[in-house]
């Protein structure tokens, strides 16, 4: 590695003819001049060697903080950094060798930066520099410090003194988005007086596609680079609240100025660095936890997610760390506001609003307050539909403007109401993994069963913190030991079950739907109900229909859909396909949830017609436990079979 070559590096003594004592004096003078004007490369080399030795003696390359800054993770082969951008490392072996990287970084600090101080190693990797400086007590005379003006100006412009974790909740009618997303906002003041202008850090996959199977696969397997971006909060509020209709929850952390500065220094280092994005493990939320640990090393958060990191769970661990979260604020989405508005309006106002969306110039004869409400509702509705691409692009803008112009002429204050903050925020809902003990009776057989599910939420689980009517069941395994043959059986393996019961009204024309893939033990053999000869069938199913809310708080939902099912594993060896209607009701009453569903499917081949009833009641004394009783009845050729079960469910 080339060490700085500064001019006037050699103090030269004058030639022979000068008298002795003056020669000595001159030597000293020149040597001092040499020191003042520049250092001998050998002095740099010495100090560098000294620092390298100190670092080795103190094993700084094995320090957890060094590993945090370089994003090293233990692998079965040793150690590897998750950063994939080559320029992140000073050593060619830096990605796998913390010691080599430390040495190369120290060497880099000595490079002459005077031509472009902001591009010096010290400034580009300022967090490393600051940490090594405190560890090794750099002598500014022997290791000149670069001013790093660009970095300090950037920090001053961000003006961030408080850190807030932002959680973006799910889209309406898209249960998979329930997993959520997290960002970090750097607030200027404690009271949060101008949050829209605060800068927000976001880690996301850089993709070219926005949908499709390639997108899903690449997202799951690290096929996309993930990178950080810094944007004013208003950009994110617009994206999440307005365009995507996702509620935002703001969790203020009690980080102090020093901790924030450490994070900022590291953000400066990684702002152009790519990390492969893995939807399950190394996603936005996991990266955010790692960043928080750079700010406060005593936090041990990311290690709690060795296999997968669900964003809502990462916020959960923050709230469980005593004193870490100092306040929680709620920022409802446009869709949420409109939903409340429609609910609170009188019917007449809603009627007028609807017809205004079709004909904005229509005359309205209402009192000014009511007229204002109708106009505001009509605008909100058009804007909502516009963002979903459901309006006519040639006329929607003119229509929206007409409504706003009419509204501006009314001397009436803003008629909108802020939706009340839900009692339970997403971080305080039930934990996403579940284990359950079951006692059941299948026909005449007693069984004891065990259930396990890593994620996420079903329609009987305590609904606080989750969207009403949305459910995802993932890798749910259900097994039981049966008294009939003293054997363990697989009752059900649900690979995936997604349900979206989205209450539909004139303003929210949502389609409810369901789809899934599972293997289930059914009391059917040769197409006939035969309780004693049950076995496992593989099923793929999908359903679509409508849901209506029967009360004003969406506690009581009723729904009807058409379901199609494809079943393999039949005794005949041939798969069978079924189609038919289903109807159901789901009612939340404080700590109780009641549900009933019936469906009749007409199958091909042997199975003919099969009717299935499901009824269940769930009581949750708190968000950690549920007691559930359920009955499944199968009616078909050959008779009826009932399966009654009682479970104790624990969320963890």
């Amino acid at each position: 590695m080339q060490i700085a070559n500064l001019p006037l590096t050699q103090a030269k003594c004058p030639p022979q003819k000068t008298p002795g004592h003056r020669r000595v004096f001159f030597c000293l003078l020149l040597a001092m001049a040499g020191l003042l004007l520049g250092h001998a490369p050998s002095a740099y080399a010495d100090y560098l060697q000294e620092l390298k030795t100190q670092a080795a003696v103190r094993h700084l390359d094995q320090d957890p903080y060094w590993w945090q800054l370089l994003h090293y993770e233990k692998t079965w082969q040793g150690v590897h950094s998750t950063a994939s951008t080559k320029t992140f490392f000073q050593s060619s072996k830096g990605a796998d060798d913390p010691g080599a990287e430390l040495t190369a970084t120290l060497t880099g600090f000595f490079r002459d930066f005077r031509q472009s101080p902001d591009q010096s190693t010290q400034c580009l990797f300022i967090a490393r520099y600051q940490w090594l400086k405190t560890q090794l007590h750099f002598d500014p005379v022997r290791l000149p410090e670069s001013p790093c003006q660009e970095f300090h100006q950037w920090v001053a412009a961000i003006n961030g003194h408080y850190a807030t974790v932002i959680f973006a909740s799910d889209y309406i009618n898209n249960p998979s988005s329930m997993f959520g997303h997290t960002l970090l906002r750097l607030d200027t003041d404690a009271q949060n007086s101008a949050p829209l202008l605060a800068y927000t850090l976001n880690f996301a996959a850089q993709t070219q596609e926005s949908n499709g199977l390639a997108f899903a696969i690449k997202g799951l397997t690290g096929g996309y680079p993930g990178m950080y971006s810094l944007l004013p909060y208003y950009e994110k509020v617009k994206e999440y609240n307005d365009l995507e209709n996702r509620d935002l929850w703001e969790y203020r952390l009690d980080f102090n100025a020093e901790e924030i500065e450490r994070m900022l220094a590291h953000i400066w280092e990684i702002r152009q660095v790519a990390f492969p994005y893995y939807f399950f493990k190394a996603n936005c939320s996991w990266q955010l936890l790692k960043l928080l640990e750079v700010g406060r090393p005593s936090l041990n958060l990311a290690a709690q997610f060795p296999v997968y990191a669900i964003p809502a769970d990462t916020v959960r661990v923050l709230t469980r760390s005593p004193g870490l979260v100092s306040r929680i604020d709620y920022r409802p989405a446009n869709g949420t506001r409109l939903y409340l508005r429609v609910r609170r309006n009188e019917d007449q106002t809603n009627k007028v609003a609807l017809s205004l969306t079709r004909n904005p110039d229509q005359a309205i004869s209402l009192a000014p307050d009511t007229a204002a409400r109708a106009l505001e509702t009509a605008y909100d509705q058009l804007y909502y539909l516009h963002n979903q691409g459901k309006t006519d692009p040639t006329t929607d803008k003119a229509q929206m403007l007409t409504l706003l112009h009419r509204r501006a002429k009314l001397e009436v204050p803003d008629q909108s109401e802020t939706p009340p903050r839900p009692d339970i925020d997403p971080a305080h809902g039930h934990a996403t993994a579940m284990i359950a003990l079951r006692l059941a009776e299948y026909g005449q057989t007693r069984v004891s069963g065990l259930d396990w599910r890593p994620a996420y939420h079903d329609l009987m689980d305590p609904a606080g913190g989750y969207r009403r009517g949305s459910a995802i069941d993932f890798l749910h395994v259900s097994g039981s030991y049966r008294a009939s043959d003293h054997q363990w059986h697989l009752d059900q393996l649900t690979l995936l079950d997604i349900q979206s019961l989205a209450p539909r009204n004139l303003f929210f024309p949502s389609l409810s739907w369901k789809l899934g893939l599972d293997a289930k033990d059914l009391p059917i053999s040769h197409g006939i109900i035969q309780p004693t000869q049950s076995h496992v069938y593989e099923r793929a199913y999908a359903a679509a229909g409508l849901t209506r809310s029967l009360d004003n708080a969406d506690r009581l939902l009723c729904y009807g859909m058409m379901e199609t099912q494809f079943v393999t594993g039949t005794t005949s060896g041939y798969p069978t396909a079924g189609l038919g209607p289903l109807m159901g009701v789901n009612w939340i009453q404080n700590a109780w949830t009641w549900a009933a569903e019936v469906k009749t499917l007409h199958y091909s081949r042997q199975w003919s017609e099969m009717t299935e009833w499901q009824m269940a009641a769930n009581f949750h004394p708190d968000n950690e436990n549920s007691w559930r009783i359920g009955l499944e009845s199968y009616h078909g050729r050959g008779g009826t079979d009932h399966r009654l079960q009682f479970s104790w469910i624990r969320y963890f």
Binding site: A204, T207, F215, P232, E239, R271, K397, L404, H405
Partner: protein
């Protein structure tokens, strides 16, 4: 890039020449109202990455490069960037005379707290002038707003 027929290109040139005299479309001021955001249609599989499409630099996306080096908006660009990004919200909030975004706009224009309610009322009264057509850019809206403010004795000082 597609090669337009000569006539169309000529017509395009004529029209753009005839457009508003305000040619400052940098740093967000060229954003149109209700422009939306591309690539943000929720689909089942799309949520696996919460991704951003295209090549995004550390700062804001295309069209505003140079206005926010390293992600931080330059003070000169702040008002334009904010207005450009929040045009939809500002249109809505000005029509009702209040709102968080409108309040933040007032802050950016350095309107003191005592003058804010006057600012909200004034922009609502002159709404037709400020949002005169659905084809307005943020620069035009901001220009019209500042014009309204200049004509008002109390707010003229903040019209920029």
């Amino acid at each position: 890039m597609k090669k337009l027929p000569f006539a169309v290109a000529l017509l395009g040139g004529l029209l753009s020449g005839m457009a508003s005299a305000d040619s400052d479309t940098g740093c967000g001021l060229g954003t149109m109202i209700w422009a939306g955001q591309s690539g943000v249609i929720p689909k089942i599989l799309a949520v696996t990455t919460n991704g951003t499409s295209g090549n995004q630099t550390f700062g804001i996306t295309t069209g505003t490069l140079g206005c926010s080096p390293n992600g931080v908006v330059t003070s000169k660009a702040k008002l334009g960037m904010f207005t450009g990004s929040n045009l939809d919200r500002l249109a809505k909030e000005m029509s009702v005379g209040q709102g968080e975004t409108l309040n933040t706009l007032a802050d950016l224009m350095q309107i003191p707290a005592t003058e804010k309610s006057h600012f909200f009322a004034l922009s609502k009264t002159h709404y037709d002038q400020i949002f005169s057509s659905d084809n307005r850019s943020a620069g035009q809206v901001l220009g019209a707003l500042q014009g309204v403010m200049r004509a008002d004795s109390e707010l003229a000082a903040y019209a920029g």
